[in-house]
């Protein structure tokens, strides 16, 4: 679909009325929060100064105008998602904020090195727990953590994934705490989504405000697909010359279908569903109008339990019968590998500093949030006594479901949470309430900019002996005032994220 060009040149002369109605005139700064654009004294930080000047020359109504155009562009392009758990499932656009987040090259360097370090450590951890299990024998990570995980796949024991890679694509969620340091909140190494928003946000922002964008030397994000394809091709099965790569999707009713189609399109590969593939003689083929075509690498956006009804859940209509046998034989690469979910369990997260030290003999570059395990009696006691100052998370839920934030609970709710934890301590971990940094975000209801909490999801892709971190990432915004949960399924929005060259 052709997108209306809605660039509004910021060249109007400024009238007095405009100045009174300046974009940031009603921005209220809570000094207890870490504001990404203002320092403690209320001065705009250096990297934001240019942006602040340009935006500051304009009125809220100019901004509203641009913002609504950007929104309709998203809807027209079909960049939507669905929220599960609502009674009436409907497509929504991922709310987008035109005021970008900027990360300078020094800070980015920490994030990038830290993301690679974690992804590599997780990969070595996965290799180990599906082979010799040394980390368990050396008592660094308790055996129960693995055996009690629903995501540990016995069938993966002893399998050597092509190129030795399990977590080809890792989505690492990072926040900036009020001490100004970066912390990892969680590692997503099953089918992390959201990268298409990063690219679409950039496209939308450039269209709306290219006059602004050009004042900064920002790294491109549109090179994601080519790098992804390159790295997926590097983990091709043995004996394959030029691999045939496909993206497999659960179908158009999946919340991330837009992304699946986007990635296939931009990589220039086929987007398939389970019924488009079949297995014969332990090789995977795609049905085409010219007859069967062998498939070598599958970027799968289907969960482990659904990939092969003959090996895992028999009621899965999404997968390909016989796919796992082909994988086990080494005739096809699955990215990410089956069974990676065991390592992004929130209980495993708490061992990440030890895991990094054990395999890489390095200190973690990115901090971990201190975590209390409710499965340990002394820590359980602490958690039960301090619920009001902790976040309680179930270890195996993704997407921000089932999280309780202690200082937001009533007395009755605290008692209810206590009962739930006591009933199933292994299911919960607790962390101190982190104060996510805030970023000025345009809020429809008040027609002004307000502080909103943000995080950052980075995308790391690993191939055979090489890796790539997308220089950008998805800055997610918690749109409800004071809300700390930024997941899109919990009503979050997003911002374009600029990583500056020197």
């Amino acid at each position: 679909m052709f997108i209306v060009f809605y660039h509004v040149p910021f060249t109007k002369t400024i009238s007095m009325a405009n100045i009174e109605n300046q974009i940031f005139s009603s921005y209220q700064r809570n000094p207890d929060l870490y504001d990404e654009i203002y320092d403690k004294q209320g001065k705009v930080k250096e990297i934001y100064q240019k942006l602040f000047e340009i935006y500051g020359e304009h009125t809220i109504s100019d901004y509203v105008n641009l913002n609504s155009k950007a929104k309709s562009s998203f809807f027209n392009q079909g960049i939507t998602f669905q929220v599960y758990g609502d009674n009436d499932v409907q497509e929504k656009i991922f709310p987008f904020d035109l005021f970008p987040r900027i990360i300078d090259h020094k800070e980015w360097d920490i994030i990038e090195r830290g993301s690679i370090q974690r992804s590599k450590a997780l990969n070595l951890f996965l290799w180990d727990i599906y082979h010799d299990k040394k980390i368990l024998k050396d008592k660094i990570v308790p055996l129960e953590l693995i055996t009690s995980s629903a995501n540990y796949l016995d069938q993966m024991n002893g399998i050597n994934p092509p190129g030795g890679i399990y977590n080809h694509i890792s989505g690492i969620d990072i926040i900036k705490h009020n001490d100004g340091k970066y912390y990892v909140l969680e590692d997503n190494i099953r089918c992390p989504s959201g990268v298409s928003y990063v690219i679409c946000n950039r496209t939308a922002l450039k269209k709306a405000l290219f006059g602004v964008f050009n004042h900064y030397q920002t790294h491109s994000v549109t090179n994601y697909a080519e790098n992804l394809l390159d790295l997926l091709e590097s983990v091709k099965p043995k004996g394959v010359d030029v691999p045939n790569v496909v993206v497999i999707t659960p179908g158009m009713y999946n919340s991330a279908f837009y992304e699946h189609s986007y990635l296939a399109k931009t990589m220039g590969v086929e987007l398939v569903e389970g019924r488009d593939l079949f297995v014969e003689n332990d090789f995977v083929y795609m049905k085409t109008i010219k007859g069967p075509e062998k498939v070598d690498v599958i970027y799968r956006r289907i969960d482990d339990q659904f990939i092969d009804p003959l090996e895992f859940r028999p009621d899965s209509a999404l997968g390909v019968p016989g796919l796992f046998a082909a994988y086990k034989k080494g005739n096809v690469t699955l990215a990410n590998a089956p069974g990676t979910g065991v390592a992004d369990d929130k209980a495993v997260y708490t061992y990440m500093p030890q895991i990094i030290k054990y395999y890489l003999d390095e200190e973690p570059i990115l901090n971990n949030v201190h975590t209390y395990h409710c499965s340990r009696p002394d820590e359980l006691k602490y958690v039960l006594e301090h619920i009001h100052e902790l976040v309680i998370k179930p270890v195996d839920e993704a997407g921000g479901y089932g999280i309780s934030i202690g200082n937001k609970l009533t007395k009755a709710e605290i008692e209810k949470v206590k009962v739930e934890i006591k009933e199933n301590p292994r299911k919960y971990v607790a962390q101190p309430i982190m104060s996510l940094s805030v970023h000025p975000t345009y809020i429809d209801e008040t027609e002004s900019f307000e502080q909103r909490h943000v995080d950052l999801r980075t995308y790391t892709v690993m191939g055979k002996d090489k890796e790539f971190v997308l220089k950008g990432g998805l800055t997610r915004v918690a749109l409800k005032r004071g809300n700390l949960i930024v997941n899109s399924s919990q009503g979050g929005g997003s911002k374009d994220t600029w990583v500056l060259k020197k």
Partner: protein, 284 residues
């Protein structure tokens, strides 16, 4: 004396309506091991669809069939012939150090190495309110305790077909005290694992010529890992140790890892399936 075995496995499936798409995976081929060898496999289906020989996620041989045309009826027939060596289940060293064996099963490395067969699964989960229904006597050897458990299961539960299903939970079996070989085996596995003994569910064929109880289709028994001895087969349905009459196909944590036939049929309406297994043996 080695036995020359011939096993015929046949199944007939009829459907009320046309089936446009279907997949089957058979896990029925006797495995090759140090007592089963020279295995010859013949497999055919009435639609002349390709029989795809493969290996499943646990390393056992399978046959996959995916007909390319619609059908209302399909028959499968398999014939296996092989040599089974004579097994003397009591042929193991007698000079076992019991205290060392009991010590070994408590060690972390042991628990990690045998983790999959110490874990409780949906089908081998003992009811929570039940502390333990069978206790090991630690003054006896592990082998003796397992023999005792074999006998206990056999004596306290009645073999009766039709009261349980393949996905029946132990809670039901313990309350009705009835079941078939899968149920006896699941219960045996659960209790042995609760006592720290790695135990795997075994699926295979039973030579019923000697009056042994079993299904007319496939049989199930258990294998336990005993330090200094190795894996030993126990058949709680018959209160015997696995012997020359037990022909192993595969093992796993429970029935779900071993189900002989998995099928995905894209159709609606009624269907009818019959299975027959014939085991024929000849001492050489």
């Amino acid at each position: 004396m080695p036995n020359q075995y011939k096993i015929t496995y046949s199944t007939e499936n009829t459907y009320e309506n046309w089936v446009n798409n279907a997949y089957w995976q058979f896990l029925i081929i006797p495995m090759e091991n140090n007592t089963q060898h020279h295995i010859d496999v013949e497999f055919s289906n009435s639609l002349f669809a390709v029989n795809d020989f493969s290996i499943n996620g646990y390393g056992f041989k399978t046959i996959r069939v995916h007909p390319k045309k619609k059908f209302k009826k399909i028959n499968f027939e398999a014939q296996f012939s092989f040599i089974k060596d004579h097994i003397d289940p009591f042929n193991f060293p007698l000079d076992i150090n019991d205290s060392l064996a009991y010590k070994e099963i408590k060690e972390l490395t042991f628990k990690i190495n045998f983790e999959a067969f110490l874990r409780s699964t949906v089908l081998t989960k003992l009811p929570n309110d039940l502390d333990s229904i069978f206790h090991f006597n630690l003054s006896n050897t592990i082998f003796e305790n397992l023999q005792e458990l074999n006998k206990w299961t056999f004596n306290n539960f009645q073999f009766k077909a039709g009261v349980t299903k393949v996905d029946s939970k132990l809670t039901d079996i313990i309350s009705t005290k009835q079941g078939v070989c899968q149920d006896f085996t699941h219960l045996f596995c659960a209790i042995a694992r609760q006592n720290g003994i790695p135990t795997r569910y075994v699926s295979g064929y039973l030579n019923q010529a000697h009056g042994l109880l079993g299904d007319s289709q496939m049989h199930a028994w258990a294998e336990c890992y005993i330090p200094q001895i190795g894996w030993k087969g126990f058949d709680p349905t018959n209160n015997v140790l696995a012997n020359t009459n037990h022909i192993k196909v595969c093992h796993g944590k429970d029935y779900n890892d071993c189900s002989p036939l998995r099928g995905i049929i894209y159709s609606h309406g009624k269907n009818k399936t019959t299975h027959t297994v014939k085991v024929h043996s000849q001492e050489q």
